[in-house]
Amino acid sequence: MKFNTRQLVTLAVFGALWGLVEISLGSVLNALRVPFSGAVLTAIGLVVAMAGRMFVPKSGSTLFIGVIAMVLKLFSIGSVVVGPMVGILAAAVIAELALSGFRRPSRLAFITAGALGILWSLFQPFFTGLLLFGRDVMDIWQGVLREGERVFGLDTQAALLIVLVLALARLLIGAAAGWLAWDVGRRLLSRLNTGVQPAAHA
């Protein structure tokens, strides 16, 4: 993972924006207990990170942006940081792996990376709850079912349906984030007229 000075500065801009979103909007959304707040935050973060990927189309750049955002979140004041830090890093790693699977940046690559990165937020409670807070698997599972009941009005007995709907909702949010990131990145490139051509045409 080697970047030159200009690339490091560009990555810093995108990392700072993701970090700022997590510090400011993240604290508000978590305090208000908004449904899908984790997924929405990760989606905004990934839009920023993937737009950054268009400026630095090298492997490792998305992960690098995620690590910058994670470090900024670690040193933010007065909030719970363990969950968001794990979320940021996991989403960045998954998006990085997904983007590395494609030969060059494309809208499809961004949509896939966004969808997979945000799908993680469905599994994160099992990871942090189980490992860090010692919550019972059944307890976490019931939390997931209650979320499905609260948001979609589904009966908690229809466990499989709830999980499928929740996963589908996250995949859709992620795909929309990928779509948006591609548009934002291209528009940004053309506005700044940096001389860097978009890596691929939509």
């Binding site: 993972m1 970047f3 560009t10 807070f133 010692g134 940004l188």
Partner: protein, 249 residues
């Protein structure tokens, strides 16, 4: 001879100035505290948490005091109470109490207590670590794991936060005054993101030029220093030893 005496004096002075724990030492306390609470079996949760809290009281008492804040006390108490009230399926259920007319699950209370202990220990560990080491030390540590140039980028990111905030606020007000939040919201959100990023990237361009003028290169730049403490190695040994003892003895 004089040289030897001088170097000896320098070594002694340096040893005196060396803090008890450096970045690696604090990392060992953080990692081992998380390891202890994650891996400790339910029966050994109390000694594990006591050990972590004891270390926290010695190293970063301010983080321990954060637990006394009403919101944290309330959150931790809620973990215990909710389990006591509703968790009747926990292991050993049946030995229940009646608090007045409210039935309480004894085993649920125990499960809740363990969860609260884990949450409190994790909170103190993260807070203590982030409060004891500086941002440059953390990035220096991450640079040693292959993220070359991270220190430079994090430094820029930290300095960009105010200008990003200002750009975000200005763009948000402009959008609001032009009625951008009433219709074509997605399109306007894209415009908002592009405006904020374009503004900050132009500013970043100046930073990159300044760095290049100073002949900065990530390859030649020295790695960010991390502080070394007198007891870093013993801290690792004690932490890993505690995990092994709690798991296997």
């Amino acid at each position: 001879m004089a040289y030897l005496e001088k170097s000896h004096l320098e070594a002694v002075t340096k040893a005196d100035r060396q803090p008890a724990l450096g970045t690696s030492g604090y990392l060992s306390v953080f990692a081992c505290a998380l390891g202890l609470i994650m891996l400790a079996p339910p029966g050994r949760m109390l000694p594990a948490a006591a050990l972590c809290m004891g270390a926290a009281a010695l190293l970063y008492p301010a983080s321990l005091l954060r637990l006394v804040q009403p919101r944290w006390l309330l959150a931790l108490a809620a973990l215990v109470v909710v389990n006591g009230l509703f968790n009747f399926q926990a292991e050993g259920a049946g030995r229940d109490w009646l608090a007045g007319w409210i039935p309480l699950s004894q085993s649920g209370l125990l499960v809740g207590l363990r969860m609260a202990l884990r949450a409190a220990t994790a909170l103190v560990a993260v807070d203590g670590f982030s409060g004891s080491v500086s941002i440059s030390e953390v990035t220096g540590l991450l640079e040693r794991f292959g993220l070359r140039g991270l220190g430079f980028s994090v430094g820029i990111a930290m300095n960009l936060l105010p200008s990003l905030h200002r750009a975000g606020t200005n763009a948000g007000y402009t959008l609001w005054m032009r009625g951008g939040l009433r219709r074509r919201r997605l399109e306007n959100f894209k415009l908002y993101l592009v405006s904020v990023l374009a503004d900050t990237l132009r500013y970043a361009e100046d930073i990159a030029l300044a760095a290049e003028t100073r002949a900065f290169s990530p390859e030649n730049a020295p790695r960010l220093p991390i502080s070394r403490g007198k007891y870093d190695l013993p801290a690792w040994g004690m932490g890993l030893g505690a995990i092994l003892i709690l798991l296997f003895l």
